[in-house]
């Protein structure tokens, strides 16, 4: 059972040196490290229970199917879905959103309809909507961001939420700004209008308690590798009534109930949306990751992240010439983006790597947001359960050295 005092011991990858210094891993928004429990579960599955799922009739297949469907049920509980059938396994957030855009969007959007997004969306909650808009003739519209503070301009909500809006897709937690959006309120506004809500949960799923009933969302998309599970697995939560009315996304084995030469009949959800052999082994790790995070307590994780995010913001704010993004107070998750006028993000990240610190620099798949803020990129530090206040001090010391070097002092 994990405990907060021993949490760092659970993550093998943390215990290494980089360039002769202890690794300080601050790139969790890109991907999280994996706990031993997840690594072991994957190995054990391949060592003992490995067989194809789809309810085969031999012992290993039955064990594999139980493990796979058990993971689905566990994930359903993790987000408080009404039933396991409302959890579709995908490759991750991007595929989940593409599924909704193509399948739900394909039959429900037409010329004259509006897809409402926000200016802080990651490309994965933007490009799929651009693609379906081109196909259907629907138009994109954006709820603005207030500026460096990185809040959604909710005063504009009445103006942008017109009857033409058929879908409102937004992020729960911004991967660049750290802003936690009032998701329940936004979903309620969409519902009042009769629009469908699609929430990008990539950054929130491993960091905040997520209850799709309380949020009142129609779809919630997330990735396993950002919550301590394996890569290549994620899920889409969808409201049953909506899923039942959606056509398949991909066709193939496993999603049909009957195949003839020229026509086939589809299974219901979730199988309808899981064509081909599923990523069953990695799906098992998703269930294990849910157990690990719940053992730590997701409210505690959220508080831990918020504390580190706030501490980092405060400690970074004293650095000369720093431009900090995202909320100063209030709803901020455990990540901070910043920029300096005379030192480029890539130079910062390269120098920080010399000190053993893993940061990320660039546009973070938020090119429209960068354009709006007049930036080409930022440096981002993002925290998780195993990061500590001391690591923030290491980061600040490194940045001081970097600034000194580039100022020629």
């Amino acid at each position: 059972m994990p405990t907060w005092s021993t949490v760092r011991d659970d993550f093998p990858a943390l215990h290494q040196q980089v360039n002769g210094r202890p690794l300080v891993y601050l790139d969790n928004a890109a991907t999280t490290q994996r706990p031993r429990a997840v690594i072991d579960a994957l190995s054990r599955f391949y060592e003992r229970d490995n067989a194809n799922v789809h309810r085969g009739l031999h012992a290993l297949s039955m064990r594999a199917t139980d493990a796979f469907e058990g993971a689905r049920a566990r994930v359903a509980k993790f987000v408080n879905a009404a039933a396991p059938e409302e959890i579709i396994f995908t490759r991750g957030t991007t595929e989940s959103i593409n599924l909704v855009a193509a399948s739900w969007g394909g039959v429900n959007l037409k010329a004259g309809d509006v897809i409402l997004l926000t200016e802080m969306e990651h490309h994965s909650n933007l490009v799929p909507w651009q693609l379906i808009a081109k196909r259907t003739g629907a138009k994109l519209r954006y709820l603005p961001v207030t500026g460096d503070e990185g809040l959604l301009d909710l005063a504009q909500l009445d103006r942008v939420l017109t009857p033409e809006v058929k879908v409102f897709a937004f992020t729960h937690l911004s991967n660049t700004l750290g802003t936690i959006n009032p998701a329940a309120e936004l979903c309620a506004r969409a519902r009042k209008l009769g629009a469908v809500s699609v929430v990008d949960g990539a950054q929130s799923i491993g960091h905040l308690p997520v209850d799709v009933q309380a949020l009142g969302c129609d779809f919630y998309a997330f990735s396993g590798h950002k919550m301590g599970a394996a890569t290549g697995i994620g899920a889409l939560y969808g409201r049953r009534a909506l899923l039942d009315a959606m056509p398949p996304y991909q066709g193939g084995g496993g999603m049909i109930s009957n195949v003839d030469f020229y026509e086939s009949r589809w299974k219901p959800s979730p199988e309808r949306f899981e064509a081909g052999t599923p990523n069953f082994a990695d799906a098992v790790t998703l269930g294990v990751a849910c157990d690990y995070l719940d053992a730590l307590g997701r409210d505690t994780i959220a508080r831990h992240d918020a504390d580190l995010g706030r501490l980092a913001y405060e400690k970074l704010s004293v650095l000369p010439g720093i431009r900090l993004l995202g909320p100063k107070a209030g709803d901020r998750g455990g990540l901070v983006s910043f920029a300096f006028k005379d030192v480029h993000a890539h130079d910062i990240v390269t120098f920080a790597d010399e000190d053993g610190i893993a940061l990320r620099g660039g546009h973070h798949c938020n090119q429209p947001l960068m354009k709006k803020l007049g930036l080409t990129g930022t440096t981002r530090a993002s925290f998780y359960v195993y990061n500590t206040p001391e690591e923030i001090d290491v980061l600040v010391a490194s940045l001081r050295r970097i600034l000194k070097f580039f100022s020629g002092a």
Binding site: H344, A345, T350, E354, G362, H363, T376, F405
Partner: protein
């Protein structure tokens, strides 16, 4: 920071802080754009070509210290050169950043030898040069060096 000190030598920091030949060139008759979308480095190169020679050259852009310093240095190296000489100089620069071998003649270009130890940054160093060569050829397609790893 010794490896990085090799990479970010004074020459590079100097060119980054005080870029040479920076700005648009109103008399330009060849222009090319260079762009590495994944990292965000950008570089516009302006040439006034007179006969076979680069009579005037300037650059404008934004990006990391390596890319901006390299573009600045490139303008000082290519001014007054013929197209053939420019191609040869690029070839030499490419060798320096990919092998780390410093040139026989002492020149500021040798400062970029340290790039070879940081393969992810080679594309930063070569972007401006690539844009310049595209400008010479009159190639309308924006240059990108994202595939430059060796």
């Amino acid at each position: 920071m010794s490896d990085l000190s090799d990479l970010y030598q004074q020459v590079i920091l100097d060119h980054n802080r005080r870029p040479r030949n920076r700005g648009k060139l109103p008399s330009a008759n060849r222009v090319a754009h260079g762009d590495n979308p994944t990292c965000g480095d950008q570089c516009d190169v302006y040439l006034r070509v007179d006969g076979d020679r680069i009579a005037e050259i300037s650059f404008d852009g934004s990006g990391c210290a390596i890319s901006q310093a390299s573009a600045s240095l490139m303008t000082t190296q290519l001014k007054g050169k013929t197209a053939a000489e420019a191609e040869k100089l690029y070839g030499q620069f490419h060798d320096i950043v990919t092998t780390g071998k410093e040139p026989e003649e002492i020149s500021d270009v040798g400062a970029f030898a340290g790039v070879h130890a940081f393969p992810a940054r080679i594309k930063c160093a070569t972007l401006g040069w690539h844009a310049a060569l595209n400008a010479l050829k009159g190639d309308p397609v924006p240059a990108t060096t994202e595939s430059h790893t060796d």
